[in-house]
Amino acid sequence: MTDALKAYHQKIADASVEDMVLNMGPQHPSTHGVLRLELITDGEIVKEVIPHMGYLHRCFEKHAESLTYQQTIPFTDRLDYLASMNNSHAWVMGVERMLGIDQDIPKRVEYIRVLVCEMNRIASHLIAVGTYGIDIGAFTPFLWLFKDREHIMGMLEWASGSRMLYNYIWVGGLFYDLPVGFEERCREFINYFKPKMVELNQLLTDNQIFISRTANVGVLPRDVAINYGCSGPMLRGSGLKWDLRRIDGYSVYPELDFDIPVGAGLMGTVGDCWDRYKVRIDEIEQSLKIMEQCLDRLQNELKRTVDFDPRAKLPRKLTPKPQDYYIRCEGAKGELGFYFIHSDTRSEIPFRAKVRAPSFNNLSVLPEIAKGVMIADLIAIVGSIDFVLGEVDR
């Protein structure tokens, strides 16, 4: 037994005498998966939070060391299973850059990729917002948002053949072109969905009970957020305009017009739970805007042609030169990174692949911002982080 483990056991033993040690999870609806939080509590006050992860560990990095780049794409879908498209997009772009074919990808393929990624981002944020409502005690938004998300799931199933784990974006192209009529159906959805967001804002965003539960709770200052490696809506909620879609300008994002919403402390302090929630709501609107622009291009200058083959640029062998490469992308939860070490010229298998999961880093700030809060507020904070355990545990 190592010293650190002994110290941990001693701490729990000591705390059991004076205070009370409570287990929240792994089977707890508010932990959004199999996360176990060990709370050292003094009455209703949380003195310390000790997260325990690993219940959903599926050895992604070990698997990646024995599978080819193409074979690993279905595994990346299972990291953040609420936004699978974003994961495979990041992985695929990293491999394409190592192969040096990232400039050869047809524009139509790139626009389809961005379109499905943004659809998936909306679906992910809908779950984040809906389940956050449930954590706070609002049941209706959850049902409404799941109904709307179902449309996105249906469309992505139409395109890829699967509801959640798509394996749609491939190195050098796509699994298939979009089905005929997809663009029109997508437009119908956008027109249907826009008023739904107004309804949601009336129901939840401006709800006084919701505001009282989330404003000024779990304030995350900007410097703490940066030092803990927080990214995505978590960092933007603290008021920093940092979006890798803009900063790195990968894929076709430089050609698209969208804003980056940041938290402004409208209901309380900058960086509180309400700000993080609001950033997600605003991002849904921006994603809809991006989708519309993608559809404009896909229906006009990049129209589907009879001879268009989304697999035309698929390399016969995925054998990059020996090198290291770190790719970072804006996933639905934040900076999603893959680090590849490739050492063998003739191999299609990476020597080492590492995932920089946004949820993992976002969750690591929890013990810091949850010190001294009430147990009920802890639920609000945990919900506002919006992590997916598939990505934390990998």
């Binding site: 992860m53 060391e65 490696g229 290291d324 970072r328 590492k354 920089r356 690591s364």
Partner: protein, 165 residues
């Protein structure tokens, strides 16, 4: 600030021997730093007003295989004000038969390194000196071995239960 400028800045501050080499062959250049000085280098890069590498994107523990006999850690830093990226690498030779690889922790500089280093310890078996709480993070506390080492043998039993798949 370019890669060369950062190299000069570090060499000027700590002396030329702190940079053991560089890898500029790939798409992203990397600096090889003297392993014992990594925390000082990170602190300097974070606080220097010309670089401000305030964001640790990723920390990776690497086992370079039994032939090379090396263990290493790779740091990916990002500077938010200047929108820069930098890769730092440290590595040491280790004979697997005697002792485990030990590196300096940078958890004091970047708090996010805390969990990243726990993960590197858990999966690759790299120990970090000065880490506040070096426990396993993804695997059970009583797991034996480090799965991402190249010579890892898949466990057959866990607590007397056959792992059957």
């Amino acid at each position: 600030m370019s890669f060369e400028d950062i190299k000069l800045l570090l060499a000027g501050k700590f002396g030329a021997e702190i940079i053991e080499g560089e890898e500029t062959g790939g798409l992203q250049p990397a600096l090889l730093i003297a392993p014992d000085k990594i925390a000082d280098v990170c602190l300097e890069l974070r606080n220097n007003s010309k670089t401000y590498f305030d964001f640790l994107s990723c920390l990776t523990g690497v086992d370079y295989g039994a032939e090379a006999g090396r263990f290493g850690v790779v740091y990916h830093l990002a500077s938010m004000p200047y929108q820069l990226q930098l890769t730092l690498k440290i590595s040491k030779e280790y004979d697997r038969a005697n002792g485990e690889p030990v590196f300096k922790s940078i958890a004091d500089v970047y708090r996010t390194a805390d969990w990243h280093e726990r993960e590197a310890y858990d999966l690759v078996g790299i120990f970090f000196e000065g880490h506040p709480d070096l426990r396993r993070i993804l695997l059970p506390d009583d797991w034996e071995g480090y799965p991402l080492r190249k010579d890892y043998k898949t466990a057959e039993y866990y607590k007397g239960i056959k792992i059957d798949f």
